[in-house]
């Protein structure tokens, strides 16, 4: 057993050495310490929108950025058919149990953007209030929601592709 662990350590050392050498010489090699992301832009409020609201372009710029979380407040079925990439789903009927439980591991400093079907739905705002009551201070609403996002033909993630 001890011999096997020594083998494992040797293999890891050799692999890491090889990786570092190759990374050094390849043109698309990465810096070993990932530079921190450019400072996050302040929450841009659309001129036509009010306080605490963000535009589709702003949401697009924040997809998969560290420190940001997009929350889809539509039904699970709608979410499965298509949603903003990187978003998590907290449907209205699961808000007070499974939904908030899912957010437990998310830091309170995380900037959260909520959205629902479109300008007329209220679920994103309701979710935003609930999250603020729970302790999340940086919560904004994307009022255009799914309707604006799909009309602008912005990137879409589909849970239906899961079968692959």
């Amino acid at each position: 057993m001890k011999k096997s662990f020594l083998e494992a350590i040797g293999i890891i050392c050799f692999s890491v050495f090889l990786a570092l050498i190759v990374n050094c010489f390849r043109s698309d090699g990465l810096p070993l310490v990932r530079p921190s992301s450019p400072p996050l832009p302040p929450v841009v409020v659309a001129e036509e929108a009010g306080e605490g609201l963000v535009t589709a372009e702003y949401v697009l710029s924040q997809i998969n950025q560290p420190g940001f979380l997009i929350v889809d407040a539509r039904s699970s079925d709608d979410f499965r058919q298509g949603h903003i990439p990187g978003a998590i789903n907290i449907p209205p009927d699961a808000l007070y149990d499974a939904g908030l439980l899912a957010l437990e591991s998310i830091s309170r400093e995380t900037r959260i953007i909520t959205y629902c079907e479109g300008i007329e739905c209220l679920n994103a705002e309701d979710l935003s209030f609930t999250l603020q009551e729970t302790g999340y201070e940086n919560v904004r609403v994307f009022p255009g929601g799914w309707e604006e996002w799909s009309n602008k033909k912005l990137p879409v993630a589909r849970a239906e592709d899961e079968s692959g």
Partner: protein, 171 residues
């Protein structure tokens, strides 16, 4: 009562046969080659696209931001070297331990992402995957983990590089 004893005896006999097949050197040899091949294949796209793999790792929201690149640079090489060693039959127990460790981490990471409802591609075989993670990914990695442990405990290095070089089968 006699019927129960007969059933028990049949089950015991079947288990003995099944165990004999599972730990047969040639079965373990096939599993080892397949597992090695899978890891070579899994490493390839990540080796070619380290930046995209770093983003795939980032999406799991587990590692601190500065540590993403070192993982994206080294992990595919560890997978590749272990895969080659398993196929070649050289240092197989060491490679199987590492692969078991990696698969344990993968299972935990996938499970954690699913529990947190993170919508991300697996990043398992391709750094540019578009398929969100599902329970099946978890099951698949768990099966690979069992195979890796099986190889670790029962591999006899038949038809391996070591035995060819040393011209003997290592017990």
């Amino acid at each position: 009562m006699k019927v129960d004893e007969r059933n028990l005896s049949t089950i015991t006999r079947m288990w003995t046969i099944l165990k004999g097949v599972l730990i047969h050197p040639y079965t373990v040899w096939i599993l080892r080659i397949v597992l090695g091949g899978i890891f070579i294949y899994a490493s390839w796209d990540k080796l070619l696209n380290p930046e995209q793999f770093a983003r795939a790792v980032q999406n799991y929201r587990i590692l601190p931001h500065p540590g993403l690149n070192i993982i994206a640079v080294t992990l595919p090489w560890v997978e590749l070297v272990c895969g080659i060693l398993l196929v070649a039959g050289f240092l197989t127990r060491g490679a199987a331990i590492i692969i078991s460790g990696l698969l344990t981490v993968f299972v935990l990471a996938l499970g954690s992402a699913m529990i947190r409802g993170i919508d991300t591609s697996c990043g398992c075989f391709s750094s540019q995957g578009t398929h969100p993670i599902t329970f099946l990914f978890l099951v698949r990695d768990a099966v690979f983990l069992v195979v890796a442990l099986h190889v670790f405990f029962y591999d006899r290095k038949i038809a391996g590089l070591a035995s060819l070089i040393l011209r003997r089968t290592i017990p």
